[in-house]
Structures are given as structure tokens and as C-alpha cells.
């Protein structure tokens, strides 16, 4: 299998499954969707197109730190997520923007609703830029970049969960 064998609906199925794992806080299973060299990044809201090597991001994890992030979130002493947020992810406008060998570039819009304790709804809106790799186990995430539309996080507060 190579990227040319993958259809948009294959990608949609994959992204919906990923969203379900995250909404259900099945983070160890979510980790299995990542490649060994995966990265997870959220640029600062005022520099959405920047590079984490020369701009301050909100999150710029390599594979090691993604695992550390999950370990932290599985710990009840990650106070910001204890009790946990309830999230609901809507993913739409999924587009395969590039196919190259075993790799697909995918863009998708998201609308993530987050409730926690008694605080008001926090609504995260933006787009995902994925780099997905075709493997013999199926699609895997090599790069997961979250680009937020708000010009500042403001009342969204901290991004203490996996966005």
C-alpha cells in the first residue's frame, strides 16, 4: 500500500477514530496511532505559520515528549486535568493535500468543545495539518500540527489536554 491507495474516506475514518480515542481519554491507545518519530505542535496564536526551532510555540513535542505528556495526563496529579475535561471533537473539510510515497499531507478543520467542572464552555476552533504515513498496520500519524484560529488563547485558558 502507498499513499495513492488511500482515499479521503479512509482518512476520515482514521481521524474520526483518533478523535474518539481522545474524547474518551484512551490516551495509551492513541499513542499507538503515532509513528516512532511523531511530532505534535501548536504554534502560538500570533505566529501560526512559524517554525518551532525559531519561534515560541504553545506545544512542540517530539515523540519522547508526547509519551511524557500522556504519562503526565494519566497521573491524577496533573491537576489541570484532574478532574478531566470533557471534550467533543467535530472534524470536517478533510482534504488530502499531497501524496508522496508512503506519506499523505492532510488538512482538516476542527471544532473542539471543552467543558470542565463548572467553567463555561471553551470552544477551540482551527485546523489540523497532519502528515500521515501508510504502514502495514494502517495509517499512522507522523506529524500533528494544530493551528488555532483565535488571535489569542484568552478565555480558552491553558491547553492542558491533547487538542
Amino acid at each position: 500500500m502507498s499513499a495513492k491507495d488511500i482515499s479521503r474516506s479512509d482518512v476520515e475514518d482514521f481521524l474520526y477514530d483518533e478523535a474518539a480515542l481522545l474524547d474518551e481519554w484512551r490516551l495509551d491507545e492513541w499513542l499507538k496511532l503515532l509513528t516512532d518519530d511523531a511530532i505534535y505542535q501548536i504554534p502560538s496564536t500570533d505566529a501560526p505559520d512559524s517554525d518551532a526551532r525559531n519561534a515560541l510555540f504553545l506545544i512542540a513535542d517530539d515523540a519522547t515528549r508526547i509519551k511524557a505528556r500522556v504519562k503526565r495526563l494519566n497521573d491524577t496529579e496533573a491537576h489541570a486535568e484532574s478532574p478531566r475535561s470533557r471534550t467533543r471533537r467535530m472534524i470536517a473539510n478533510v482534504r488530502i493535500t499531497e501524496r508522496d510515497g508512503d506519506t499523505l499531507a492532510v488538512s482538516a478543520n476542527f471544532s473542539v468543545y471543552r467543558y470542565r467542572r463548572n467553567s463555561p464552555l471553551r470552544h477551540f476552533v482551527g485546523r489540523y495539518e497532519f502528515r500521515l504515513r501508510v504502514t502495514d498496520k494502517g495509517l499512522r500519524i507522523a506529524e500533528r500540527r494544530v493551528i488555532l484560529d483565535p488571535t489569542e488563547l484568552g478565555t480558552l485558558g491553558a491547553i492542558s489536554f491533547i487538542l
Binding site: 500570533d46 505566529a47 519561534a55 515560541l56 504553545l58 512542540a60 497521573d75 496533573a78 491537576h79 478565555t155
Partner: protein, 426 residues
């Protein structure tokens, strides 16, 4: 306001109590605007953010929209971002470079020096109308220390350097990291709100008492990464204890700790990777050549969390962050944070600094979200301020001499100044 004092400060009786109303009552915030913020020097921006003539950043400082900019002569200028005609903002971009600040409403325009240069239909104004009287207004006082620019709306305030008092030593320790003395604000701004009183972030920014419990998962992460998280025993410590906390005059205060958890300048830890060792050695060698062994060690081997009264924090630890915050309500603040690096650092050193920043700091870091949670939990609890009036703030009060980073002398230093300003006319 009730008659109950804001603080009870009786060190001879081992008493220091903070009235919780100071963190919860909207009346206090109204008074803070005039008695604290309008009377102090307030951080506006760093000179590196406006490096060329015509460069500007717009931001809210001290509750006013301002343009932090560089004029045609290359001098840093701060303008109030309000047209002299009807007060509309003349610049609505976050930052950039411009020849003119144009008010789109009726078309008045100003040059880089804030002078009014264009008035459509100027001939309809009566005789005596003179554009020279309508330059963009500027705060009464604008001054800088080592690249950090401050403004004050108090025309009678003491000079900035005198105001900064002992804080200058700690700003020097940051700026001295750079071979040229020039630091640079790095692209990418973290802007997030906390549903808590702004003074809780003052306390939290240099309260080391909370580290072990609030940041257990961060300490675990560091340990998992092979970093020594406990202070080394005994020999050769730069400071008499593992860390101290102290007031620096005028409400500024600091915690000053021996570093043992790594610094991009210039203390290697395993997280940076083996290939970073050599460059960090080089950075250290440069420091030693320029500053001497002792001063280089002071710059490289201590972490300092500095609060410049009232609302500027410069934390120099796993990375350097500038953080300022502004209350929008008694229980709600807006936080803005930047990363600061040396102007000369290599692409790899810059990347390492930014990576190190994110392990702890910021709304997606491994520590800051738990601080936010702590402050919001405090604020929720503060709704009981009418029932439980006082917070105990006596850690270290019984000690002669030096106070630890986990004591509360530095917190008391902030609150004493705050109290003095808030009660000056009482």
C-alpha cells in the same frame, strides 16, 4: 470599604496576615487602578521588538491602548493609540512597520514621530487650528533599563533606575548572558487568561513552596529524562543555601536559586542531548572570558524568578521568560508571555532554548497549566473571604537573616509595598 486592614504586619509578634478581601473584592481593583497601576512604572515592551524606524507593536498597557514603536530618528517611542480627533485607534495591526499611522475614520494621519501630518478638509477648521497641537499623545514618563521599556502615567514618579532599586542587579544577570548585552524577544507570544486575581500570579511566579506538590508531574518528567531534581549536597555552592527569597526595595522581590535542573546558558542536562554539550561548553567559555569565572558562574549557575512591582515577571531558569499580566476583573487576568534569548545565539542554541522553555512554561507546558489550576482553585475558595478573613503568610518570619526560596519574605515584600500604596491617602 470596611475598617479591617489589608495586612497585619507585626513581625515582632511573628504575625503577618493578608486580608483575603484584597484578592476578591471588586472595590479593591478599582482602587488599584489609580493607586497602584497609575502610580507605578509599568512594563511596555523590549527594544528588540521594534528594531528599525517605523517598527511598531500595539498593546494594552496599564489599561490604555499604546503603540510601542521606533521613530524616524531611531528612538523608541510610546504613543497613546487614540486619534486626536475622535479618539479612534490609529493603528489596529498587532505589529509591523509603517510610514504613517492612519485613522481610517475621518482620515487624520500621523508620521512615525507621532506628528499630525494629514487632515482631510483642513480648510474647514477655523483660523488658529494648528496641526502641531495635535500630535499623538505620549505617556508622561517613558524610560528603559537594559532594553526593557517602561511607561508611567505618574508624572512625578522617581526615575526608573531608582524605582527598580535592587531589581537592576537581577535584570543585569539576564542581560549579561548576551556577549553584546543585547537580548531579543523571540517570535511567538503566549496570551492566555487566568480566572484569578492578578496578585495571585505575582505570588505564584516566585513561590517555591508549591513546587513539590503542584508540579509533581513536571518533576517526574525531569527525573524520567535523567535530570537530577534534588539539589546537590554540600560543596561549592554559590549561595549559602539551596535558594533564597528576598525583597529588593519598592515592592520588587526575587527568589535566587542554585541551578541544578539545567539552563540553556550554560548548564547542560541530559534533555538537551549529547550533541549539545560542546556548544553549551562554548557558551560558558565565552561567559568566563567576558565576565570572569565568578560572575559567569553567577549568570550561568543560578535561577532567578524576579517580580518587578507591580506586574512584570522575569523568570530566568529553564529558559528566560518575560511575563506581564493585567486584571480585567477582580477574579480574572490576561497574561502575556514572551521568550527572551541572546541576540547572538546559534540556530541550534535558539531551538534548544525554546524547547527547554516549553518543558515547564506556558499554557501547553508541563507545569504552567497546573499553576493556572491552582490559582483558579484559590480564587474559587476566596468566595469565602467574608467568613474566613485572613491568610497566614509567616513562613520564615522567625528566622534571623537570610530567608529561603520556600519561605515567604519575598511575598511579604510585595504585599508591604502594595499595602503602602493602597493606604497612602487613608
Amino acid at each position: 470599604m470596611t475598617d479591617s486592614p489589608f495586612i497585619i504586619d507585626q513581625p515582632e509578634d511573628m504575625v503577618f496576615r493578608l486580608n483575603r478581601r484584597t484578592l476578591a473584592d471588586p472595590e479593591i481593583l478599582t482602587r488599584e487602578q489609580t493607586e497602584i497601576f497609575d502610580k507605578s512604572w509599568i512594563y511596555c515592551g523590549h527594544e528588540s521588538e521594534v528594531s528599525k524606524p517605523g517598527d511598531f507593536c500595539t498593546r494594552d498597557v496599564c489599561g490604555r491602548p499604546v503603540i510601542f514603536s521606533r521613530d524616524s530618528a531611531g528612538d523608541v517611542r510610546v504613543f497613546l493609540n487614540a486619534c486626536r480627533h475622535r479618539a479612534a485607534m490609529v493603528c489596529r495591526e498587532p505589529c509591523g512597520n509603517t510610514r504613517r499611522y492612519n485613522c481610517f475614520y475621518h482620515g487624520w494621519s500621523y508620521n512615525q514621530d507621532g506628528e499630525l501630518v494629514g487632515v482631510p478638509g483642513e480648510d474647514s477648521y477655523p483660523p488658529g487650528f494648528d496641526k502641531a497641537n495635535f500630535s499623538l499623545a505620549e505617556p508622561p514618563r517613558v524610560d528603559s533599563y537594559r532594553g526593557f521599556w517602561f511607561i508611567s502615567f505618574n508624572p512625578d514618579i522617581k526615575d526608573l533606575k531608582e524605582y527598580l532599586a535592587g531589581a537592576t542587579e537581577y535584570i543585569d544577570l539576564v542581560a549579561d548572558q548576551s556577549p553584546s548585552g543585547e537580548m531579543q524577544v523571540i517570535q511567538g507570544t503566549q496570551e492566555y487568561d487566568i480566572r484569578a486575581n492578578w496578585k495571585l500570579l505575582v505570588e505564584n511566579s516566585f513561590d517555591d513552596y508549591h513546587l513539590l506538590t503542584t508540579h509533581k508531574t513536571w518533576l517526574d518528567y525531569m527525573k524520567d529524562s535523567g535530570v537530577q531534581v534534588e539539589p546537590p549536597k554540600g560543596q561549592g555552592l554559590l549561595l549559602p543555601s539551596k535558594g533564597i527569597g528576598k525583597g529588593l526595595g519598592n515592592g520588587h522581590a526575587v527568589i535566587d536559586n542554585i541551578n541544578f535542573r539545567g539552563r540553556p546558558v550554560a548548564r547542560w542536562i541530559s534533555i538537551y542531548g549529547e550533541d549539545a554539550k560542546e556548544e553549551i561548553e562554548d557558551i560558558r567559555t565565552e561567559l568566563v572570558e567576558r565576565l570572569g569565572e565568578k560572575r559567569a558562574a553567577r549568570v550561568a549557575d543560578t535561577n532567578r524568578n524576579l517580580v518587578v512591582f507591580p506586574n512584570l515577571v522575569i523568570n530566568d531558569g529553564s529558559s528566560v521568560t518575560i511575563r506581564t499580566f493585567w486584571p480585567v476583573a477582580a477574579d480574572h487576568m490576561k497574561v502575556t508571555a514572551w521568550a527572551l534569548g541572546t541576540k547572538e545565539e546559534s540556530v541550534r542554541a535558539r531551538a534548544r532554548r525554546l524547547d527547554s522553555f516549553l518543558t515547564f512554561y506556558g499554557p501547553g507546558g508541563f507545569a504552567t497549566p497546573d499553576d493556572v489550576e491552582a490559582l483558579e482553585a484559590v480564587q474559587a475558595g476566596l468566595a469565602t473571604w467574608r467568613e474566613v478573613e485572613w491568610s497566614e503568610m509567616t513562613r520564615g518570619l522567625n528566622k534571623e537573616g537570610e530567608q529561603l526560596n520556600t519561605d515567604e519574605e519575598h511575598l511579604r515584600a510585595f504585599w508591604r509595598e502594595w499595602n503602602a500604596l493602597m493606604t497612602v491617602d487613608a
